[in-house]
Assembly symmetry: C2
Homo-oligomer: 117 residues x 2
DNA sequence: CCGCTTGTCAACCATCTGGTTGAGAAGCCG
DNA sequence: CGGCTTCTCAACCAGATGGTTGACAAGCGG
């Protein structure tokens, strides 16, 4: 799974990882601090953080033995741009479809009016 | 992977599936029409469509033997809302941090000014 | 220096995933 | 009816994923 976008979506497909992102949006935290609320091992959380890091969603810095983790908000833009593009196209298509349907309805009504007389 | 959001993110973590979404944003298409550009089997594409369907990104309707597939744009909102929430928090946090830093810089400058006199 | 804390690496395991092939259901059309 | 097209289901396989435990490197602090 080489491409950036796939990595970002895959990273956020896990509830624990989304939870970590939510937690980090409130401020940086070390690995043990992040792991503390969960029942799984610290190693498991460390793995999750690696996935988030590979996706560019998070960066780690050194601070003695500790590794404060930091949320990188910019990567969200990549996703948002992708999503917005296709949503917009799809929505515009519906608007066109609605317009066509409205047009057809109008024509039908006019035909019926003509037939009624 | 029960929850909706996980399913949506997981569905879009695959390049082929994102490609299918892109294709469908231009208009509905049957399974074979969707499968045509790819080298993989129709069954593989059928599986991809099932994943997209389970995530609520797509709906299938019956039309003789054919199954026209339709993009459901609304589900995107779920993602966008999630993303925007944490991005906004993270960005605001930086603005606050920037403000604090600016304040500190200002105080330092004033202290230096005081010391300089 | 020794021990405790913090975090990662490695090996292992069960399950999920994306692909395959083969078979078959459903439905149009000659 | 019989055949062709369209699509899904089932079984299988290789590789990824999320978890475990155990070992150990790095670094603070008594």
């Amino acid at each position: 799974m080489a491409d950036e976008l796939s990595k970002v979506f895959a990273a956020l497909a896990d509830p624990t990882r989304r939870d970590i992102v939510a937690r980090l949006s409130a401020g940086d935290a070390t690995v043990t601090q992040i792991a503390e609320p969960y029942e799984v091992s610290v190693q498991a959380i460390s793995k999750h953080l690696r996935v988030l890091e590979d996706a560019g969603l998070v960066t780690k810095t050194k601070e003695a033995q500790r590794r404060p983790v930091h949320l990188e908000a910019e990567v969200f833009d990549l996703m948002t741009r992708w999503i917005e593009r296709y949503r917009r196209e799809a929505e515009q298509r519906y608007q066109r479809l609605d317009a066509v349907l409205a047009e057809l309805t109008k024509e039908n009504e006019e035909n019926e009016k003509g037939q009624a007389s």
